[in-house]
């Protein structure tokens, strides 16, 4: 793993590279962005990108690539940035990743590529995510060129769900010459990328451009199809002539806390809250028709400590909330949200109430939420997840006045596809059983990947599953062997 400069185009000696500071991501000032839905991060300029790229140590055995779920050749694309070949860098990324402008924005790089960057042993890791985002955006501005697909194979693949895993499968298989059609239940393509992740973290225009790119590659999309209801897996295989099917329906069923008062007006699941804002554009009411409770001057809390929780509460802040709280039952160290998002939220003025959990939602007697009765917690012995179990402190109850509470404590598997597909085995939590290596399910010709197999995880892990699935679907279509 020793750094090497052989054949390097990098003019800076490996030793001096450590002296270059990690280039900061330009961002909207916190007090400004807290009131708009524009993207927080503004992106590197070409100069910043090249300066940052110089920091790469060009390891002989790059651990960044090993730790990337889709296996992006980081060293190579970064070298191309060094010499100013930005389009070449984009092409290199696209060999492994069909959605670079998206992963460059929402990947938890600190747990993936950057987490294993050799630089991080001494100084800050290389800004791989920022660089990926830069080249993807550059490519988009320059006008993407489409790499020709392999000659048609005559095989047809149906992809169920247009989220990160489904799009990856579609992008990989179209290049192999297969015909690919993606079915989406909602009216927009992108799954969680359009209904879940807010505009200020992932502008929808970016998603749209990536999907347009895929369309130009030849991928077909059909919206308004709930597979399991509108058409079944069996019908796709037997009547519509698909040779293989990939199921990437995600973990879309919201979990509630099962505490009193959860049905009160003003209590939302994070899915509903974010769907109203992101997919239905309720924040543009009345130009858009979908309504949303007016949050101006209101007190809003989100319950949970993941990225979804932060997305929801930061959206509430932007919609005019007076007080915006995160109620999390453990401490900051256990929060599953990305460090960058927590930091951004703190800058914007989100009030983090750690070791706090609601036990009941209180009403005005007419069905509207007025407060959450909360308890403070302390951390006890580690539980099954390895994290210290939160235990309520006796006598710590207090009422937090609230108009809106958003529950973001996780999701479970949506059963529609599983319950209508004979022979498709699920585990006891309802997720589809699929091989970790090949993503094959127990049903011939049917593959699955992403959150519907693993439970809620990240965009990039779903994309990694999509890559593996595409590889194994191609193999199955080519050999016919199950």
């Amino acid at each position: 793993m020793s750094p090497t400069a052989s054949k390097s185009k990098n003019p800076v000696s490996p030793k001096d590279r450590m002296k270059i500071p990690r280039q900061l991501m330009p961002e909207q000032p916190a007090d400004v962005r807290a009131h708009n839905f524009e993207e927080v991060n503004l992106g590197y300029s070409a100069e910043l990108a090249q300066q940052e790229a110089l920091r790469c140590l060009e390891c002989a055995k790059p651990t960044c690539t090993d730790n990337c779920p889709v296996g992006i050749d980081v060293k190579e694309f970064v070298q191309r940035i060094v010499i100013g070949d930005f389009l070449g860098a984009a092409a290199k990324i696209r060999e492994a990743n069909v959605l670079p402008a998206i992963t460059g924005r929402v990947c938890p790089q600190e747990d993936q590529c950057e987490g294993k960057c050799l630089l991080s042993k001494k100084v800050k890791p290389l800004g791989i995510g920022y660089l990926e985002r830069f080249v993807a955006d550059y490519e988009q501005r320059m006008g993407t060129h489409i790499v020709p697909n392999a000659p048609p194979t005559g095989k047809k693949v149906a992809v169920v769900g247009s989220g990160p895993s489904g799009l990856t499968v579609a992008g990989d298989l179209i290049q192999k010459g297969h015909r690919v059609r993606v079915f989406e239940a909602l009216h927009e393509i992108g799954g969680v990328l359009v209904y879940g992740i807010p505009e200020f973290r992932l502008p929808k225009q970016i998603v749209r451009e990536q999907i347009d790119y895929m369309r130009q590659m030849g991928v077909e999309f059909e919206t308004d199809v709930v597979v399991g209801r509108t058409v079944t897996i069996n019908e796709l295989l037997e009547e519509e002539g698909y040779d293989a099917i990939f199921i990437g329906t995600g973990a879309g069923l919201p979990q509630f806390m099962n505490i009193p008062g959860e049905h009160l007006n003003g209590v939302y699941s994070a899915n509903e809250f974010l769907t109203r804002i992101n997919l239905m554009k309720a924040y543009k009411f009345p130009v858009y028709d979908e309504p949303m409770l007016d949050l101006h001057g209101k007190d809003v809390a989100v319950i949970g400590g993941g990225n979804t929780a932060l997305d929801a509460i930061r959206s509430a802040l932007r919609l005019g909330a007076r007080n915006a709280y995160v109620l999390y039952r453990r401490s900051e160290a256990e929060m599953p949200a990305r460090a960058e998002e927590v930091h951004h939220a703190q800058q914007e003025g989100i009030d983090f109430q750690m070791l706090t959990a609601p036990v009941e939602f209180l009403s005005d007697g007419k069905g509207w939420l007025t407060a959450a009765r909360c308890v403070r917690m302390e951390l006890g012995e580690p539980d099954a997840s390895g994290r210290r179990r939160p235990v309520p402190k006796t006598g710590s109850e207090f009422d937090l006045p609230l108009s809106v509470a958003v529950i973001a404590i996780g999701t479970t598997a949506n059963p529609i596809v599983q319950s209508t597909t004979p022979g498709l085995d699920t585990n006891k939590r309802g997720y589809i059983q699929a091989s970790e290596e090949t993503q094959r399910t127990t049903r011939k010709g049917v593959f699955a990947g992403g959150d519907i197999v693993t439970g809620a995880a990240t965009v990039i892990l779903a994309m990694g599953a999509g890559r593996r699935a595409a590889k194994s679907i191609h193999e199955y279509l080519t050999t016919g062997v199950w």
């Binding site: 059909e222 919206t223 209801r229 007006n265 699941s269 509903e272 239905m280 130009v287 979908e290 069905g367």
Partner: protein, 332 residues
């Protein structure tokens, strides 16, 4: 996505009223996101009663799969909200579904302004669990107002399954009685009531149900579809008589696939999602109070939308007189 291709699809997409096109329709390039969708064409549109319209819509996939008790969610145009709508019937051969819509808020009023040849941007379904159809013995199917449209296919299916079907149709007045002929055709007996007595018998559907019970009619199942107050009244009546009662709930929904949880209803004290666990539930277990309360969540916004819509329609009306033929032509 090239501009020209995007535009081509824009022209194919639904025909919103002119004020929408001039106000905002063109501003949003986001239409390109939806162009993979089939466009859902209105083959036929006809008023059944004042404010209640039936649309025959080209939706071959849905037509093939629809079963009694199910519904669709639709979105008329890009800025529109998603609303659940009753399926009255479908024709798998022709690939069409019939929906029946009553004007209430902006979206339904706008929908009812569409005509034969127009299209709807999104129609998704069939959603929800189908009605449980088997031979119960004697089934009483109660349809209140526009709910009759959803009760009708269930009544027909119960009849086909060998039940003796007694249908009760209720409406506020004579004009609002819908599908009487259709209901009669699938029922062994049909009873009609109007609140004001302007047609058939004056009174409520529960009066008729009460009479049936008092006359000693053996009833094995009651299905009630209509306004919440009606379904609640029916359930309260049958609870005392220990008659199994199924009601079809209509909470606010977005996706209709179980993803948002907005349609949660309290059944026997537990949260269930009307879109995937329902929409039909045991009427004796439903907390109707919570349903009424949750359906009122956006009343202020709904009123605001409706007022804005009326205001713009008025402006549009004045504009029509000024520019004549141009504004009369709908985008196909």
């Amino acid at each position: 996505m090239t501009e020209s291709r995007a535009r081509r699809y824009v022209t194919q997409i639904t025909a919103p009223p002119l004020w929408l096109r001039t106000q905002s329709f063109r501003r949003h390039s986001s239409v390109s996101l939806s162009f993979g969708a089939t466009v859902f064409k209105i083959i036929h549109a006809q008023f059944l009663a004042p404010g209640i319209k039936r649309f025959v819509i080209e939706a071959p996939r849905i037509a093939r799969k629809q079963k009694p008790g199910q519904f669709v969610i639709l979105r008329i145009y890009e800025e529109g909200e998603r609303i659940p709508v009753t399926i009255e019937n479908s024709d798998p051969e022709k690939g069409t579904i019939n929906i029946v819509v009553q004007s209430a808020g902006k979206t339904t009023t706008l929908l009812n302004s569409l005509n034969t040849g127009d299209s709807i941007l999104d129609v998704v379904g069939p959603l929800g669990k189908p009605s449980e159809i088997r031979n119960y013995g004697t089934a009483v199917v109660v349809g209140g107002g526009v709910g009759t449209a959803m009760a009708y296919p269930t009544a027909a299916a119960l009849k086909r399954a060998g039940n003796r079907v007694i249908s009760i149709v209720g409406a506020r007045n004579k004009e609002l009685v819908i599908l009487e002929k259709e209901m009669r055709a699938v029922s062994d007996a049909l009873l009609v009531t109007t609140d004001d007595g302007s047609y058939a018998d004056k009174g409520f559907v529960t009066d008729k149900l009460r009479q049936l019970i008092d006359n000693g009619t053996r009833i094995d199942l009651v299905v009630a579809v209509g306004p919440i107050v009606m379904m609640k009244a029916v359930s309260e009546l049958t609870r005392k008589e220990h008659i199994h009662t199924v009601v079809s709930l209509n909470p606010i929904m977005i996706d209709g696939t179980g993803m948002c949880g907005g349609c949660r209803v309290l059944i026997d004290g537990k949260s269930e999602f009307a879109c995937v666990d329902g929409p039909e539930f045991d009427g004796h277990k439903v907390d109707f109070g919570v349903l009424v309360q949750r359906n009122a969540m956006y009343r202020d916004s709904e009123q605001k939308s409706m007022e804005e819509y009326k205001r713009l329609q008025q402006v549009q009306g004045e504009g029509n007189e000024m520019c004549g033929a141009t504004s009369g032509a709908r985008q196909r």
